[in-house]
């Protein structure tokens, strides 16, 4: 009799405990407790959904994109603030890798490694990846960094408190603190131009058309076709940032 009772109460204890744990799991999936599920969620994106494609084979390292970006978006001229820059990768015969980006590539490049030592060399234009599960959006404590309905990651500079948490969270080094505004600044994919039906300034000024952007949800768009027909790759895919910047012919050395 006693044993039965004990079993009974143990079972009801287990049942209760199980129910509480279950309830906890369910509530943690409900707003606002689902905060931890940010990067685990599927990206939204209905309607126009911007993505970018860069063809490394076409980039000649002229630095026009970086230069244009500075003037178009009032980026401070000093060489510490970039929304868009170009890197020169040189892989030497002995396997060592040299990366350079003097003044973000704005003044063009010279090759510092003697010809005989070079195995291969190429340029990698960098900019915000407009990640669909962007770590920077995830960590902003006030929601000043946000994703527009078109999948463009933007900063509300009237709301940013300048805590720099997003700068730490971006794996690609795409953010800086604006020295006079004291808030964070980054690539907007020239949102002001997109809204007028224009291309981003860097893409407009690229002489070889190495960089394009467009609607990923439209299978007929140039970007969609680029992704479909080429071997594209994103930067640091293991971080699952949902990057929407697709590179053609990206070497694994690029980080």
């Amino acid at each position: 009799m006693k044993v039965a009772k004990e079993n009974q109460s143990r079972r009801s204890f287990l049942k209760n405990a199980g129910m509480s744990v279950g309830a906890l799991l369910v509530t943690s999936a409900l707003p606002p407790f689902n905060a931890i599920l940010f990067a685990a969620n599927k990206p939204k994106g209905k309607g126009i959904w911007y993505g970018i494609a860069i063809d490394i084979e076409k980039c000649i390292g002229c630095g026009n994109c970086a230069k244009t970006c500075k003037t178009e978006n009032d980026v401070p001229p000093e060489p510490f603030f970039f929304r868009s820059w170009v890197e020169q990768y040189t892989i030497k015969n002995d396997g060592t890798i040299k990366v350079e980006s003097p003044n973000g590539g704005i003044d063009g490049f010279t090759q510092s490694v003697p010809d005989g030592e070079i195995e291969k060399s190429f340029f990698v234009p960098k900019m915000c990846n407009h990640c669909a599960k962007s770590p920077c959006v995830q960590v902003c404590p006030v929601g000043a960094t946000f994703e527009s309905p078109e999948g463009v990651v933007l900063v509300d500079d009237t709301y940013c408190i300048g805590c720099r948490y997003c700068v730490q969270a971006c794996p690609y080094g795409c953010r800086y603190i604006h020295p006079t505004k004291n808030v964070v600044d980054k690539c907007t994919l020239c949102y002001h131009r997109l809204k007028k039906g224009l291309n981003p300034a860097c893409m407009e000024n690229c002489p070889t058309k190495a960089r394009i952007s467009g609607d990923l949800n439209d299978p007929e768009s140039e970007v969609s076709k680029f992704i479909k027909t080429k071997n594209v790759y994103v930067l640091k895919p293991h971080l699952n940032t949902g990057s929407k910047l697709y590179y053609n012919a990206l070497n694994q050395e690029v980080r």
Binding site: F82, V99, S101, V142, I161
Partner: protein, 402 residues
């Protein structure tokens, strides 16, 4: 050249290898080193106080109130370095009114307020209420009025009411322990959840922060306890001091084990970031990590406190050893925070190079300002000890609530 950027041009010449062009300047500097350091002291001091109260460690009794007041003094300052490092300090309240919940930083304000208001303030208040009523009758001038105001007009000093104070205070302590864990574990999560940074991104981070917090908090209370007794020219209760030192010894060992485990794991797995991190540890962080944090902050204290566990020299010598060890431990934990915060930003997220960091002397992020943020809590503590002298409290024993 615009003088505003002079230090950046200088830093540019010191770049080693390749870093992303936006990475020259460290985003978080000395003020963000102070933030986990100070909150750690708060959490650690509080946990020591709770040990006495909840687990009934009688020998720690003389430190109970001192630990609480220390925690409180540091808590009042904890947010200051945070607010002052913001690009827009006046927008700080946005965190409170529009917190963005996916951010680990967003709930800081709530965790902080909960801990400050609900836990620390209430616990101290329940502990002092009856005393304040008594003191308000004896004291004169400013003190009298402060006691009157702080006791909130509840002037009942009957044994019954005191029993209630004690009971409620006990409940607050019980709530307080998980809160202290939450407070500092949470600070660790702020760093541990940044997947872009391999030096920070580890599940161990909150746990390591928690135990290092206990280490620093206990060391601080030990020092304050000794200094208060020196100043008051009182004989130090050696049983109490030995007990604190014993706890300090054990917690340092746990902390040391956890941190080693984290590093061993890092070396054993040797992921993509391994090369840059081992360069970081043997290069830019060599002095602050291996000398200050590990040797001075851990190995020497473990040896000296460990020796005290089975060999007990004369009281004066023991006190000297505890005093020096306490200071070494605090220095070590300060550099532990330094190595996390500054170290995590010295290497590029491209893993191809390093930037450099030079602490300025003046300016809001300078050495002097940082020192001020560390001195203010001691001034607050001195004021609190003047206003609420633990040694003048009438009620000696906590009523047992079990």
């Amino acid at each position: 050249m615009n003088p505003q950027f002079e230090h950046l041009y200088q830093a540019l010449t010191k770049v080693d290898g390749y870093i992303y062009p936006n990475e020259i300047e460290l985003s978080w500097s000395i003020l963000i080193v102070l933030y986990p350091f100070i909150t750690g002291l708060v959490a650690g001091a509080f946990i020591l106080a709770s040990l006495e109260r909840v687990f009934n460690v009688k020998s720690l009794k003389p430190t109970y109130v001192i630990a609480l007041l220390t925690a409180f003094a540091f808590m009042l300052v904890a947010t200051m370095p945070l607010i002052f490092h913001l690009g827009q300090p006046l927008r700080f309240w946005e965190i409170m009114i529009t917190p963005h919940l996916t951010s680990a930083m967003a709930i800081f304000g709530f965790v902080y307020l909960w801990y400050l208001m609900v836990v620390l303030l209430l616990e101290i208040w329940f502990d002092y209420r009856a005393d304040m009523v008594v003191w308000s009758k004896e004291a004169t001038g400013l003190k009298k009025w402060l006691y009157k105001i702080f006791s909130l007009g509840i002037s009942d000093v009957s044994p019954e009411s005191r029993r209630w104070d004690d009971k409620l205070g006990y409940i607050v302590t019980v709530i307080g322990i998980p809160s202290a864990f939450l407070l500092h574990g949470y600070v660790g999560f702020i760093f541990g959840s940044i997947k872009a940074n391999p030096w920070w991104s580890t599940v161990m981070m909150p746990v390591i922060f928690l135990f290092s917090a206990m280490v620093s908090g206990i060391a601080l209370v030990m020092l304050v306890f000794m200094i208060v007794n020196y100043i008051r020219k009182q004989k130090i209760d050696m049983l109490c001091l030995d007990t604190i030192a014993k706890y300090l010894f054990y917690i340092i060992i746990i902390d040391f084990t956890l941190e080693s485990l984290d590093q061993i794991h890092r070396f054993y797995e040797a992921e993509e970031s391994f090369e840059i991190i081992s360069l970081l540890m043997s290069g830019k962080l060599f002095v602050t990590l291996l000398i200050f944090q590990v040797l001075i902050g851990m190995i020497i204290p473990v040896i000296s406190l460990g020796t005290m566990q089975f060999y007990k020299p004369k009281e004066k010598i023991r006190q000297g050893i505890y005093l020096v060890t306490g200071i070494l431990v605090l220095v070590g934990i300060f550099f532990m925070r330094w190595n996390v915060v500054i170290g995590g930003q010295l290497f590029s997220k491209s893993f191809y190079g390093f930037t450099s960091f030079k602490l300025a002397l003046i300016g809001p992020e300078g050495f002097l300002m940082a020192s001020i943020w560390l001195i203010i809590p001691f001034l607050i503590l001195a004021f609190l000890l003047w206003l609420f002298p633990p040694w003048k409290k009438t009620q000696e024993e906590h009523v047992s609530v079990e």
